[in-house]
Symmetry: C2
Subunit: 340 residues, 2 copies
């Protein structure tokens, strides 16, 4: 029997909807996927109407048996209520689960994007025993066998992009914390004298490791070192407003020493924090996603080296830090994992 | 029906054994307790023989239906195997569960002391809905109702004494980590330029917050500030080898400003680390035990203030840091909780 599952990714700047079909007890495949970038000033009503349209397109008359939802913002998952979106107005205290249940007459589970991506990567991606193949068809015997250790049972998923966020899978399940706020590795302080953070403190991991922090740091170095950073200066055509983490990494990969130092400092800051996380939680694996995680193998080697330096000797071999495998689709696969 | 449970606490410098009786589905009481301090050079054979003797004394001919064991050292809990004791020779790779099962023909569960104390405090102590009354008789309806939130469902237990250790209860159960090494908050680094640690790094929480660190810090200040620390100098009769954390705290409570600064610095270091833990894990409660946790309410206020300063604004009200309630008996109550 073909059982269709619907997955929503309310991403803030884009919305995406996927239909997954369950072929047998263990195999799923991605049947249809629709994405739409949001206009400059979206609101909750726009997001919701867009999602219904995308859902109609992927469903083509079929009825979903369950719906998983990834939402880009804080969520009271137990109640299925969105607390707010940092990017889109009108999402304050919206009972998204109730709305979708009324719309589709199906079971709905809602969680925030970091938790959902963590679950997706653990069940179907970089933490899974069996990975998604090229055509996105996979075996998830893994899920049933989680207690036999086929999937990773304890994972920290870290997303490093505009900010730094995280989600925990512990004992094979999302761990949300007492106030559903667990996983905020971006706001762990590693340098109390470091740069100020939006949260009101200084030296949070986010301010040392995220994309804008890399760009800011590179800009400062270019200004203070007029003779250095030749390759990066060419890439940005000497316009400091054009410095982005992507360009800093491009320059670093092309041999620019200044850009390399900036990338390495960001990697070391993240790795230092992950070392502390490993001492505290001893997770089986740490999976890093988000734009900055595309920086390449050198970046990951720097992160791992810094983490290994910052754990007790008996934990050195427990440093298992890998890139995410699902890219932008992690929330959709995670949304599927919420309901299967 | 009276069902006797046996609890062992292999403590390194002392051994303890307790018999608990289950009165009805929800009530337990401590029927008998025996403790014995170890001689200067104990070994595993001594520990084990002593425990059998203590067990005979508390059992008085009765047969235990299950046995919980707290062991002071790393344990492979799933296998019931002791890895080693840091204090007592001969415990390397001992299958303590198998030995006790053969001896008593009862179900045996073994775990390390930090995990067991965490469980004991969560189920019967500072994390429990109903606390142990004066005669140590309690209602633990709590245990069945854990999902209704009566007990704390996520707890970090921290012991601050000769070292700093910790154990996690997550979703109401011991969380051990991939290599059964989770909870090592003592080796989270909060000052990479701080004092060296036995683990080979610098500025671990342990080196800033444990009892010997408090004593060392006070000694340094006394030496460098000959005109200060009058009360503390009197307490130690000007013999720097007599400086202990207990005396530093006594002097602080009696109004010695130097001693107060030292105690406050230790509290702030611990609180800073706990703030980072709260951002990362959002536990419901943090319970602090061990000798230093007897320092008094001012100490706890300093720990809480430092933690509140080091969390995001939306987590300020989630800072719930309390003293342990069970004292030295936490491992015994925790050992009971392992098997009921």
């Amino acid at each position: 029997m073909i059982r269709p599952y619907l997955a929503f990714d309310f991403g803030g700047t884009k919305n995406a909807c996927a239909l997954f079909l369950q072929e047998d007890a263990h195999a799923f495949h991605l049947d249809a996927l629709e994405k739409r970038a949001s206009p400059p000033q979206p609101d909750a009503a726009y997001d919701y109407a867009t999602m219904l349209e995308l859902a109609r397109n992927v469903l083509r008359g079929r009825e979903p048996i369950a719906i998983g939802v990834s939402f880009g913002g804080p969520v009271r998952a137990q109640e299925g209520v969105v607390v707010l979106s940092h990017h889109v107005a009108g999402w304050e205290n919206v009972s998204l689960r109730a709305k979708l249940e009324n719309e589709f007459h199906a079971r709905v589970v809602v969680d925030n994007d970091a938790n959902v991506a963590a679950l997706g990567e653990t069940k179907f991606g970089a933490g899974a025993a069996s990975r998604i193949s090229k055509d996105r068809q996979i075996e998830i015997g893994a899920r049933e066998d989680a207690t036999q250790g086929k999937n990773c049972s304890s994972v920290l998923y870290v997303t490093v992009s505009t900010g730094v966020g995280g989600g925990w899978i512990l004992n094979g399940e999302i761990y949300r914390g007492a106030n559903e706020l667990a996983g905020e590795i971006g706001h762990v302080v590693i340098d109390p004298n470091g740069p100020p953070c939006v949260c009101g403190r200084r030296g949070c991991v986010e301010q040392l490791a995220c994309g804008p922090a890399i760009a800011r740091h590179a800009r400062e170095r270019l200004i203070n070192n007029p003779a250095r950073g030749k390759i990066l200066r060419e890439l940005i055509q000497n316009d400091f407003s054009q410095v982005t983490a992507l360009r800093v990494n491009q320059a670093a990969l092309a041999g620019d020493a200044l850009a390399r130092e900036v990338m390495d400092a960001a990697a070391r800051a993240l790795g230092f924090a992950l070392g502390n996380v490993i001492c505290l939680m001893n997770p089986q694996r740490i999976i890093i996603g988000g734009g900055v995680s595309n920086a390449g193998e050198h970046y990951f080697e720097m992160v791992r080296a810094a983490a290994r330096e910052n754990v007790m000797p008996q934990l050195r071999n427990a440093v298992d830090i890998v890139p995410a495998a699902l890219g932008d689709d992690a929330p959709l696969w995670g949304a599927l994992a919420l309901v299967v």
